[in-house]
């Protein structure tokens, strides 16, 4: 291609004009952009309305997990210690968040919708051990509330907070 001096000079005009425009950067810690409604973030375990856990300890999520980050140790429900709605329950349910790739396969594999991926994404820790999420942490409602975008107007500047995550 032959040199195009005029076009090159036009480029200088463009870059100079940009100086006076408002930057489009979103200043992250101050301005939190709402996540999309189907955003895959930190996991949550769910309970039934009567307080019993939905998870029956079948380990299908662990089997589906490509990163092998879920560890499930099931135990039998007994009449005096009834934890889940099924025959068995997850005695240990751990997710190693430093390995999780947030693919959502666990959510797909789960026959009881016991595990879902929430909206929380600020999961940094100073310690690797803190990245292992235990069942209690996953059952508890999330500490940080993440704004979720309106499903119709995705880029709405007004965030609203989903109750389900």
């Amino acid at each position: 291609m032959s040199p195009q001096p005029y076009s090159s000079l036009k480029g200088f005009g463009v870059t100079f004009k940009q100086i006076f425009k408002k930057p489009i950067t979103q200043q992250y810690p101050e301005v939190r952009r709402p996540v999309y409604p189907r955003f895959r973030g930190r996991h949550r375990l769910w309970t039934h309305a009567n307080g019993l856990e939905k998870c029956v300890g079948c380990s299908l999520c662990a089997a589906a997990c490509p990163a092998d980050c879920i560890r499930v140790v099931p135990a039998e429900n007994t009449p005096d210690n009834r934890v889940s709605a099924g025959e068995r329950y997850a005695r240990i349910y751990e997710i190693n968040m430093s390995r999780c790739i947030f693919c959502g396969y666990c959510e797909l594999a789960c026959p009881f919708d016991a595990i879902t991926l929430g909206n929380e994404f600020e999961l940094s820790e100073y310690n690797r051990d803190d990245q292992i999420y235990t069942k209690d942490m996953l059952l508890a409602p999330p500490v940080k509330r993440v704004p979720v975008a309106d499903p119709v107007l995705f880029d709405t500047p007004i965030p609203f907070y989903k109750t389900s995550s």
């Binding site: 090159s8 480029g11 200088f12 463009v14 870059t15 100079f16 940009q18 100086i19 425009k21 408002k22 930057p23 489009i24 950067t25 200043q27």
Partner: protein, 327 residues
């Protein structure tokens, strides 16, 4: 005209510090201006408007481990960045900042060292500075470093020819190699951009290549390659190379202001302030260029240097010589 040695010493201390502060804030201004041109903010976290960013960077670099490869050749490895940074700062000694003043009967020159061959000295120091890049790449005993330093040297040596030839016209018009003298001539006559516009353009383009800035930043080409000659450097040694590069840029801009834009001359007798203003303008153009133009390919760089810039510089020098003789 002579001044006692201690005045030179004080001036040297002042100039070195001014240049270092200029360097520190040039990095900030560059990142800010580039950010704005790309619709970003640039650094704005350290201090108000990111004003403490250079200090934060310095603290980070000093605290970093000064890693050196086990096979590196110790002495040259450590000396290379020092030589580069030293020559970069030393070149500023001959740049005139003002007309010179008389305070309490003491004569103070506008530059640190009034050298009769100032221009030559700047080029000589620049050439020694290249040794830092060559030796640094060679002494780190890494193929990436040595390839990078070869690339850097080839570029710097090619463009230095054009750079030196492009100022010949100015030297002929100014009838001196002394930078203060050249500035005086421009004050009496015209800024040399007017008669030497082509020379200025050649000097500018060769200067971009000489300081290895975009679009001629092949020595680093940070998006494409491992750093280049300073691949194996980290911490403040790397910082010194970076400093050398930025101070070379400031020196080159100062030289351009001195040679073509009549240095500290200007209306209302502002003296050094004019110099700084012109310097800022030139540096802005360098930054502007970096945001606008894409990087050249290596063969394009070489072809341009030898087949376009060098003949143009030669013809410019010849035509100027003929005109100076006949007119």
């Amino acid at each position: 005209m002579t001044e006692p040695w201690w005045i030179s010493l004080v001036k040297a201390a002042i100039v070195v510090n001014v240049v270092l502060v200029l360097f520190a804030y040039l990095t900030l201004v560059e990142r800010k201006v580039m950010g704005r041109m790309q619709l970003r903010y640039g650094p704005n976290r350290a201090g108000p408007y990111g004003l403490l960013q250079p200090i934060a960077d310095l603290v980070k670099l000093v605290r970093k481990e000064a890693f050196s490869p086990s096979s590196a050749i110790e002495l040259p490895y450590i000396l290379a960045p020092i030589v580069s940074a030293f020559t970069a700062i030393a070149a500023f000694a001959v740049i005139p900042w003002g007309p010179g003043w008389t305070v309490h009967g003491w004569r103070i020159n506008g530059e640190v060292a009034n050298v009769s061959i100032g221009l030559l000295l700047v080029f000589a120091l620049g050439s020694i500075g290249i040794y830092g890049f060559i030796v640094g790449g060679w002494a780190s005993e890494s193929k990436f470093s040595i390839l990078g330093s070869m690339r850097t040297c080839a570029q710097l040596v090619s463009y230095e020819v054009s750079l030196a030839l492009s100022v010949l016209g100015v030297v002929m018009l100014g009838r001196s190699l002394n930078l203060a003298e050249i500035v005086h001539r421009q004050g009496e006559f015209l800024p040399f951009v007017v008669p030497q516009f082509v020379g200025m353009l050649i000097f500018f383009v060769a200067g971009i290549a000489e300081t290895s800035r975009a679009p001629f930043d092949l020595p680093e080409a940070e998006q494409e390659l491992v750093a280049g000659y300073h691949t194996e450097y980290s911490g403040m040694r790397w910082g010194l190379f970076q400093m050398a590069e930025y101070i070379n840029l400031i020196t080159l801009s100062a030289l351009m202001v001195t040679l073509f834009f009549s240095g500290w001359h200007g209306p209302w007798g502002l003296g050094p302030l004019w110099f700084l203003l012109k310097l800022a303008g030139t540096l802005f153009v360098f930054i502007w260029l970096r945001t606008t133009l894409p990087r050249l390919r290596y063969d394009q760089l070489m072809r341009f240097g030898w087949k376009v810039l060098l003949p143009a510089a030669t013809i410019n020098a010849l035509v100027t010589a003929l005109l100076v003789v006949w007119l």
